[in-house]
Amino acid sequence: MAYIDLKNDLPGIRGPMIYRPETGRILNELAEVLLHDEDNTLSRAERELIGTYVSSENDCFFCQNVHGAMAQHYFNSDMDFIDGIKKDFRSAPISPKLKALLAIAGSVQQGGKKVTPDQIDTARKLGATDREIHDTVLIAAAFCMFNRYVDGLNTWAPQDRQIYVDRAPMRAAEGYSQEGLKK
């Protein structure tokens, strides 16, 4: 049970977002522009995967399942594919560029100063642009916020992982918004 009376029984981040709509609206806008906006050379699948990986490293059950299901939907894959990337992205069947970006995201998760010039050079050599590096760092940093918000308030999360998979197509179609939280 959440540490504070959220006055609603929605799971995960949806609870505090409804509790405090002044910040909920902004957090949704951030997720929308980082993860769903089409004006981006990183695919929605790649961006959701970065969020999933960071949430997994932060051990946030709700976020890694919500965004893992989103990535699974966009990749048109199964849960094993996503779980394999969480476990060891370096040996997963994904592009070298995405692996380089996940390595940067993994460093951000540990702390901003953990990102090294070598990691940036590697990503660049594999074709990553400044904007893609920027978005990777900010997505990883944003999930270090979202994950802490969800677990720091001890919100509840459905344990059946299929529930997250079933909701993903709707979220993919509608994007992230304060209005979409209650659906």
Partner: protein
Amino acid sequence: MAYISVDKNLPGIRSLMAFRPETARPLSDLAEVLLRDETGLSRAEREMIGMYVSYLNDCFYCQHSHGELAACYLGGNRELVDAVKKDYRSADISGKLKALLQIAAKVQKGGKMVKPEDIEEARREGATDRDIHDTVLIAAAFCLYNRYVDGLASLTPTDMSTYAARAKQVVEKGYGPHIYAAAQPIPQTENVHA
């Protein structure tokens, strides 16, 4: 030098916001709501929580930017800001703020580090649900801002007088696109907090 090509005349998060205005908007809107709202927690208390998390994350730019902001709201009391960094438990602040700083410090380590006892202690000291919510989200948001600033190796000014000048600008006009779109404030020669 920053890892990506940003305006070299802009420091820290300002250079990153100018690079990507689409994400700058929610990031500055979030700071405006979390740090300038005065319901329950004062602006000084909110900036103090952000400063302390930035200090724990070893983010020089953020801890000094928000340390100066806290000092501004405290009438120039930098000594109190430094005392909180050194040991908030023995600093001359309320029991409530101490309990909230303890929650913030747990959030900095990870969401699951916050325990029911931490929440109960804050409640005993008079914290409301809303105060606890805002504390957790401020601490979490600084875990974002600090990683953003240092993860892209953005410029960290070493002239400390510039931090006071930027703080004065935010105290007067709040957080928003002006912090990177307008001319950067020029530090005053005399002590602005004298």
